[in-house]
């Protein structure tokens, strides 16, 4: 079958082999590799583009997608509206098929867009510097704990149990390398926020950093201000934040956070089954040289014209090798640029508005659910766009029933919290219409007659 990506004609291959001075590609391999036999890979033969598209269309239709279904799942990945202009721009070949801007003179598009991105992250978080992206929120958070260790050399990481459970898993994996101890802080069963008493108990002279999430995994808005007062100044105060929420919540930087990270998917990135989104990473200028990841800086060219370059590269693996601040090389620049475009479109007012819409609608649903038989709000803490609902019904059955109504139901907390067996986490964003919310409430109101309890 014709392959449109491989340009070589037979006669060219011949000419090229002649130039090289071998008689065949096979000979070339024999010379380079030594004696060997080709492998008869158990891989099907090529398909044509038309069949490929059909086959993948079919595959995609084996998934239920939330363009067609209503969704109330969040828990780390959120369905915010993505303006049409965004993907159109981000997918221009010049953005998509460029790589790390090693040659700044022909990469000003990448560099300026990432410089703008860094600025936006600083603005959202109110931190002084931000790098140009990490893989995801979880690895960004884990890198933050490693950075804390490299700043103060202490070996205990205190992490609230209200931090996303998967993020905590990742922290543990990263910690193991450096032999750091991860100590978890309980949550308050009444409010759903970090248990301050437990935190105080666990603080020690070995504590390197304290990690909380804002809003936390239960949707509850941790009181970063009070937390700040509990955490000694010489510890590293790390906050994992939802950047959309920062449209309406006081930014961690204003509470003296030392490192602020988070998952950037919400900023104009499709969910993609959880990846690729990106991690953002922001800190104080004084910690600059300990930061992981790429940094874009402003400079001038020989004519004095403004331009942008990768900078402070001596922190990085390609220069510092085993002493680098992190091993990260390829990052999630494209996703970060998507975020920059998203934030450009939304701007100062839009980010507030999208946060407020999510907040208002989430509260609308929460109140309605709380009034239903069988359902009540689990926690009393203030929440942004997610909240935990408890029921005496079986969530699996509830969710199965909802699925039949073309609704992707809430996240069952028992997956990660054995003690929260009857609880599930609902999420609402600006994309959930009132009529859909009311339909959901109606279905759940009538549910005891619909499923067998």
């Amino acid at each position: 079958m014709e392959n449109p990506y491989l340009p070589h004609t037979d006669s060219e291959i011949k000419e090229m082999l002649e130039e090289i001075g071998v008689s065949s590609i096979s000979e070339l391999y024999q010379r380079a590799v030594g004696k060997h036999d080709d492998i008869d890979l158990k891989i099907p033969e090529a398909v044509c583009e038309y069949d490929l598209l059909r086959d993948f269309k079919e595959l995609s239709e084996k998934n239920i997608n939330f363009q067609e279904y209503a969704i109330y799942l969040g828990a780390g990945i959120y369905n915010h509206f993505i303006p049409s202009a965004l993907l159109e721009l981000a997918n221009r070949g010049e953005f998509l098929t460029a790589y790390t801007p090693y040659q700044p003179e022909v990469s000003q598009g990448t560099l300026q867009a990432l410089f703008e991105y860094q600025t936006m992250i600083c603005e959202l978080t109110k931190m002084e510097v931000a790098n140009s992206s990490m893989y995801d929120g979880a690895s960004a958070l884990a890198e933050a704990t490693i950075m804390a260790y490299s700043l103060n050399g202490r070996n205990e990481i205190l992490v609230s149990k209200t931090v996303h459970p998967e993020y905590r898993e990742v922290i543990k994996t990263y910690a193991r390398g450096k032999k750091l101890k991860v100590i978890e802080i309980e949550f308050d069963e009444e409010t759903g926020s970090t248990d301050f008493e437990d935190l105080k108990r666990k603080l020690s002279s070995n504590t390197s950093c304290v990690v909380v999430q804002y809003p936390n995994f239960f949707g509850v808005i941790e009181n970063l201000k009070e937390l700040r007062e509990l955490i000694p100044e010489d510890l590293i105060y790390i906050v994992s934040a939802n950047p959309i929420a920062l449209g309406i919540l006081e930014p961690p930087g204003n509470f003296g956070a030392d490192i602020v990270v988070g998952e950037g998917q919400v900023l104009g990135n499709p969910a993609y089954f959880g990846g690729p989104g990106f991690g953002f990473f922001a800190t104080k200028e004084k910690y600059l040289r300990k930061m992981p990841g790429r940094l874009i800086g402003q400079t001038i060219d020989v004519d004095g014209k403004r331009g942008f370059v990768m900078t402070f590269q001596t922190r990085e693996q390609h220069i510092r090798r085993s002493k680098a601040t992190s091993n990260i090389c390829s990052n999630h620049a494209h996703n970060a640029v998507m975020a920059a475009i998203y934030l450009s479109l939304l701007g100062k007012k839009g980010i507030k508005e999208v946060a407020n819409l999510s907040l208002q609608k989430a509260h609308y649903l929460a109140e309605k659910l709380d009034r239903l038989e069988h359902f009540q709000l689990k926690f009393s803490g203030p929440f942004f766009n997610e909240f935990v609902v408890e029921t005496d019904l079986n969530w699996d059955k509830v969710n199965k029933y909802l699925l039949e109504q073309k609704i992707i139901g809430p996240f069952k907390l028992s997956k990660f919290y054995k003690t929260l067996d009857g609880s599930a986490l609902f999420c609402v964003t600006e994309t959930n219409r009132r009529e859909d919310i009311e339909f959901l409430v109606g279905r759940l109101g009538a549910i005891s007659s619909e499923i067998d309890i």
């Binding site: 392959n3 998509l96 990263y174 091993n327």
Partner: protein, 483 residues
């Protein structure tokens, strides 16, 4: 170009959000006063047209594979098929949530499952995790597995990892992140593993040997069987950095060479776009005895053909990131493999090697190649001769920009002085290679006449040579209103 912030105007808007269709409650009733944002984030206030123009024009300042030749060594800047982009945007891939019930994402799981199997087949490994987000992340995953493996066997003293001095920086960095001490192995004159050096360093404290094969000079380690045997005999495991897999598909396999752990770069070998620096994807394959150490979850299939996540790997290293990896990238890589097919993949490797050797042969007529050995998919120029023209590799690279080429990787691998690392990939034509070689030769002639021409290059780019030192001395890492 102005920054988007510099185009901002108070009160201008570029969004169109749904109306608030529920009764509005005062925010103060929902959020404690002290946690409500007081000062707005200084985001740009621009309208859609401006955003479209801004990012359209920014994009036009980039070189890219879609624009021209991009022979950036070690990065496999091959053509990224458009059909894969189209496929990856199907709603059933882009708009699915990682916590949806398994029965609602069978298509996604099928892709992951099959991709795992295909990658195992290509590498000769037994099991594969797709979780790592990039090559370096794969290294971290792989080295964590190796670490846990030794520890689980009570072998707590294996704290050293041997890495050739030609290795990519991520190799030592990843090993170090896992708490290993990194021992650098000096390469031979030709740039290969020095067996004596290896033997000298292998001992009961060696946890692993990390190799790239073909290595960063584009050379195949012909003694690979000996190397892996020696390492295994010393009780060490063998780690394979798969960044250079594009040279060997359907020809030889790391699994067959004796490697225990392998990472791949889907964004290199499997043609997913590099996106200005990412996202990539760095799946890790292991031999069967390491399966239980893989990060959770792995995708499996039951007797009824149902795909599910298996979280039950008691020895697992845990997780290296949230969810399951860069699924959007998997879709493209899987589509690429199916489109190319068995013969196409092999042909891709063959032509990558053909292109590299052809270009190497042409360039060897006027420049010194770092090694005499027949190369695989890439080769390295030793730029020490540039000195005689009074220029450096950097100057040559910058001059290439004036001719519309993206320069090769420069100053890497570190063991070659003034290195120019050239990887043409299989998706380039002979004409392109001829043109590139001619241009390089022409640049040398220019240098002979006037080294200044090169030292002041580039001349035709949007910005000219940038002052990197200044960026460090006077760091400006974000825009500020008053700057």
């Amino acid at each position: 170009m102005k920054l988007i912030f510099e185009k901002s105007k108070d009160g201008r808007t570029g969004y169109s959000l749904p109306k608030l269709d529920v009764p509005e409650k005062p925010i103060e009733e929902m959020i404690p006063e002290s946690l409500i944002r007081k000062e707005e984030a200084e985001l740009p206030q621009v309208y859609e047209t401006e955003v479209v123009r801004h990012y359209t024009n920014l994009s036009r300042l980039n070189h890219a594979v879609d624009v021209g030749f991009y022979p950036l060594g070690s990065c496999t800047m091959k053509y990224n098929p458009k059909v894969n982009e189209k496929i990856s945007k199907f709603d059933g891939f882009a708009y699915i949530h990682p916590y949806q019930p398994e029965e609602t994402v069978q298509g996604a799981l099928e892709i992951m499952y099959n991709l795992q199997i295909l990658l195992c087949e290509i590498t000769g490994m037994d099991y594969m995790t797709l979780q790592p987000a990039a090559g370096a992340h794969g290294e971290l995953t792989g080295m964590s597995i190796i670490k846990k493996y030794h520890e689980d066997r009570g072998d707590f003293n294996r704290n050293k990892v041997l890495v050739p001095d030609s290795a990519h920086g991520t190799n030592p960095a990843s090993a170090a992140m896992c708490g290993f001490e990194v021992i650098e192995l000096k390469s031979t004159e030709q740039g290969l593993i020095d067996l004596e050096e290896l033997k000298k360093n292998l001992d009961e404290n060696t946890a692993a040997v990390m190799l790239t094969n073909p290595n960063t000079l584009g050379l195949y380690e012909k003694d690979i069987d000996t190397i892996t045997r020696l390492a295994h005999e010393a009780g060490a495991l063998l780690y394979y950095d798969g960044a250079n897999l594009n040279a060997i598909m359907g020809k030889v396999r790391p699994g067959d060479m004796g490697f225990d752990v392998v990472h791949l770069n889907l964004h290199k070998t499997f043609s997913t776009p590099h996106g200005m620096g990412g996202p990539g994807s760095g799946p890790v394959g292991v031999k069967a005895f390491l399966k239980d150490y893989l990060p959770i979850p792995v995708v499996e299939q039951d007797e009824k053909g149902f795909y599910y996540f298996n979280y039950d790997l008691p020895k697992s290293i845990g997780k290296v990131r949230s969810f399951y990896g860069n699924f959007g990238v998997f879709v493209k890589a899987y589509a690429y493999i199916l489109f190319m097919g068995k013969s196409g993949l092999k042909k891709a490797s063959e032509l990558a090697v053909l292109n590299a050797n052809y270009l190497r042969s042409k360039i060897s007529k006027f420049l010194k190649i770092a090694s005499d050995i027949v190369c695989m998919h890439e080769f390295v120029v030793d730029g020490s001769e540039f000195k005689k023209y009074g220029v450096k590799t950097l100057d040559v690279a910058k001059r290439l920009l004036d001719y519309g080429y993206h320069p090769p990787t420069v100053y890497f691998p570190l063991i070659v002085p003034e290195a120019l690392m050239i990887e043409p990939t299989e998706t380039e034509t002979k004409e392109t290679l001829d043109g590139f070689a001619e241009t390089l030769e022409k640049i040398l002639k220019e240098a002979e006449k006037s080294s200044e021409l090169l030292k002041n290059a580039p001349h035709n780019t949007y910005v000219r040579r940038l002052d990197e030192a200044r960026a460090v001395k006077n760091p400006i890492l974000r825009w500020k209103v008053d700057v």
